[in-house]
């Protein structure tokens, strides 16, 4: 016979409950707005038949269709009060191991106060009905705890999921409280304290509701109340008893949530202390620490703000739960009022801690801002110093460059003297004026010719120097003038014609860029030799994947150029060459 479970051990089952009802209770941040969102999702006013729900988000609202995979919850709205609660029937259909059949149908009650109750009548376990062992029930509860997270995940808003993730980490695995109500129990003792035998009975009850549970027996009803839940075996499960046992579950559910909430708060407190270490490093001049601490403070402040919002949800819920509660001495052993009061105080006290954390972070942020400003001032000062030094170096360079320019010009002028000397050949010493003066010889034809040549050479030399000087400065001015016209085109072009057109051009730069699946080509070609264009270069960027001409850039040294006319001229060239349509 095929096994209907995958339990690896032989269980020694001692306690059995008859026809148990199971309630899994938890508290999550909810209010009227969240309930309204949920009602919209459920399409509550129209929906009477089963609806499939999923936690997936339609991330492409423009698309006419979307894809899903995996897990769905099939829900039917049974009953609702639009502003207060919604009561659903959920069918969970998740794949199980071969041989294991789970027909899992449950009711889900979601209230604006945040408590969620998943409840069901357990009809059979492993094909057996009526009395069911606590050992096997513990396996059903483990399954329900996880599956209930699956059910509610499809119904929550992103806003709530974010809260849950911050508080519990993995939203699928969060603690919940359990309530089991059995019609009867197989083992009955005269004294309810006998269940606390330190042996089998106590162990089996502890497995479900936690160690150190309390046992009560009132008017033939038996109650076990532990820190993870309660097991009740009432003589009759009246509405009154349902109300108080569920209220006890709600109280425990909020307590579980606050425990995790406070763990997060204390964790953040520790992280604030770690931030102080980074601040100390930043004070010592560690710029990496300065950058990191700013980022950390931003993240922490944001998380604390979220916790602040969660605390508000908790506060409102606790206040209303306390006000709504109808006290009744018969069920005082649940200690609900005392529990609610403790919860209220804990929520109230958490305000101080959250405020303190925010103030501390604010102080640290101010400290860091001051340090950043100091750092910026230091940098500015250093930059000013650098600029000064650079100016001095630049001036010295300019002076040196001027001197070198002069020497270059003088040397260039000297070429004239070389040319003259080359043209007239060598001059002997008796042909010079100097010789006539020193030897008191009258100026002859040679000396006069030499004198004229000398004067001519000097003039030619000076003229050449002046000419070179003027030309150089004109060239410099021309080189410095740079007028760039940039235009976004975004028009379809014929890529083949463009490539053919560019073949005849003097390409000075070609660049290919891969960006998000697009191939962008940049071409720059020299047009300085085409006088009528009056342009230095033309640059285009085109997307080969889409065949679009993205932009055009024209570079010229003519500052008075008519830009519109020039652009039209280029576009006309593109059209003539069949590039643009």
């Amino acid at each position: 016979m095929q096994k209907s479970d995958n339990i690896k051990d032989e269980l020694s089952e001692i306690l059995f409950l008859k026809n148990p009802k199971i309630f899994v209770i938890e508290w999550l941040p909810f209010d009227s707005n969240q309930l309204r969102e949920l009602n919209k999702k459920l399409d509550i006013e129209k929906s009477s038949s089963k609806t499939l729900l999923t936690g997936l988000i339609d991330s492409d609202p423009d698309s006419p269709s979307f894809l899903t995979e995996g897990k769905y919850t099939k829900v039917t709205v049974k009953d609702y009060d639009i502003n207060n609660y919604v009561n659903l029937e959920a069918i969970i259909d998740l794949p199980e191991e071969e041989g294991i059949v789970q027909i899992e149908e449950m009711a889900v009650f979601i209230s604006k106060l945040g408590f969620i109750i998943y409840s069901l009548d357990l009809r059979e376990i492993n094909g057996k009905n009526s009395f069911m062992s606590l050992d096997k029930l513990s396996r059903v509860i483990a399954d329900l705890s996880q599956d209930s997270s699956q059910v509610i995940d499809s119904l929550l808003t992103e806003f709530q999921r974010n809260f849950i993730k911050i508080i519990f980490g993995n939203p699928m695995y969060r603690p919940k409280t359990i309530l089991i109500v059995g019609e009867d129990i197989n083992k009955k003792f005269e004294d309810v304290k006998d269940y606390l035998d330190g042996e089998d009975c106590e162990i089996e009850i502890s497995q479900i509701i936690g160690e150190g549970f309390r046992a009560h027996s009132i008017d033939g009803s038996i109650y076990f109340i532990g820190n993870r839940g309660a097991i009740l075996v009432p003589k009759e499960f009246t509405e009154e008893m349902e109300y108080y046992s569920i209220y006890n579950g709600i109280k425990e559910g909020i307590t579980i949530f606050i425990d995790s909430f406070m763990s997060r708060v204390w964790e953040l407190y520790d992280q604030t202390n770690e931030i102080q270490e980074l601040v100390n490093m930043a004070v010592k001049g560690n710029t990496d620490a300065l950058n990191k601490v700013q980022e950390e403070i931003t993240i922490l402040t944001s998380t604390i703000s979220v916790l602040g919002q969660v605390k508000e949800f908790l506060h409102d819920s606790c206040e209303q739960l306390t006000n709504n509660f109808d006290s009744l001495s018969t069920f005082s052993f649940f200690e609900i009022e005392k529990g609610l009061e403790t919860i209220r105080n804990r929520v109230k006290e958490s305000t101080k801690v959250i405020k303190g954390l925010l103030t501390e972070l604010e102080g640290k942020r101010d400290h860091i801002n001051t340090l950043s400003e100091m750092q910026i001032r230091k940098m500015n000062k250093a930059m000013t110093q650098n600029t000064k030094s650079m100016n001095q170096v630049l001036q010295a360079n300019t002076r040196t460059s001027e001197a070198i320019d002069m020497i270059e010009l003088i040397l260039a002028g000297s070429i004239i003297l070389e040319i003259v000397a080359f043209a007239i050949g060598e001059i002997s010493s008796d042909q010079t004026i100097y010789n006539s003066i020193v030897n008191k010889i009258p100026l002859a034809r040679d000396q006069i010719a030499n004198l004229i040549l000398f004067i001519f050479s000097i003039f030619a030399w000076v003229a050449l120097v002046v000419y070179l000087r003027i030309s150089k400065s004109r060239m410099e001015k021309k080189a410095l003038r740079d007028f760039i016209i940039t235009l976004n085109i975004n028009r379809k072009i014929d890529m083949n014609n463009l490539e053919a057109f560019l073949e005849g051009k003097e390409i000075v730069m070609k660049q290919v860029e891969y960006e998000s699946g697009n191939v962008l080509h940049t071409y720059i070609w020299d047009t300085s030799d085409i006088k009528e264009l009056n342009l230095e270069t033309i640059s285009i960027v085109c997307n080969k994947s889409t065949g679009l001409l993205l932009s055009l850039e024209l570079e010229t040294s003519d500052m008075n150029i008519d830009q519109e006319e020039k652009v039209n001229e280029i576009m006309e060239i593109f059209k003539r060459n069949g590039i643009l349509e």
């Binding site: 209230s111 604006k112 357990l122 059979e124 492993n126 396996r139 993995n170 695995y173 109808d326």
Partner: protein
């Protein structure tokens, strides 16, 4: 309190020897001082319970079984762990007999951790543990191929894993499946609460 080995059940003897074995493994020493860098070593409750579970499914204990129990890790995610309450109960009994000592301390993540060590009286009793009990433990935690102690380690990531590896070969690498929940077949019907209007007013 003077206790003799015959005062303990076989399961309690096995449990005591398992704790001793784990302490020897973590301290890397065979003597009973269990001091590492001048500090006393304690074995944490979670790996101990994982080992007990592994021993149960291997048939080592006579009277223990286990049940899935929600355990919250670091005050956050809550996983169903296969905990033996008979084992937990025997740990308490050994404490009452002054054989084990328990320590409880806060964790860096604002949770609490419980750990155990053996008392001098417990070490006296260990000398009297029957050979078959010792063999039972050793056989389970020895690599059959390399004849060496297996190494335990925990990965407390998103979903915690407790594993046992052979430091030499991979023949005996085993996940203890401490967090693997077991399923039963069941049929349920929705139960709609009758007091919804009274709960939310």
């Amino acid at each position: 309190m003077d206790v003799e080995i015959k005062d303990l059940t076989r399961d309690q003897q096995l449990l005591l020897y398992t704790i001793d074995y784990l302490l020897k493994w973590v301290s890397g020493t065979d003597d009973n001082s269990f001091i590492q860098n001048g500090k006393r070593i304690w074995i944490k409750e979670l790996p101990l319970l994982a080992v007990i579970y592994y021993q149960i499914i291997k048939g080592s204990y006579e009277t223990y079984d286990y049940a899935p129990t929600s355990v919250q890790f670091f005050g956050r995610s809550c996983y169903s762990c296969n905990i033996s309450y008979e084992g937990v109960d025997d740990i308490e009994d050994l404490r009452e007999l002054d054989i084990l000592e328990k320590i409880r301390l806060s964790t860096a993540k604002h949770g609490f951790v419980t750990a155990y060590r053996i008392t001098p009286q417990g070490y006296e009793l260990l000398k009297q543990i029957p050979a078959d009990v010792k063999e039972e433990v050793k056989n389970l935690f020895y690599c059959k191929k390399c004849n060496t102690h297996l190494k335990f380690y925990m990965e407390l990531g998103e979903k915690p894993i407790i594993k046992m590896d052979c430091p030499i070969c991979d023949e005996s690498d085993t996940d203890l499946d401490f967090l693997e929940s077991e399923d039963v077949s069941y049929v349920s019907e929705p139960y709609f609460i009758r007091v919804s209007d009274r709960l939310v007013r």
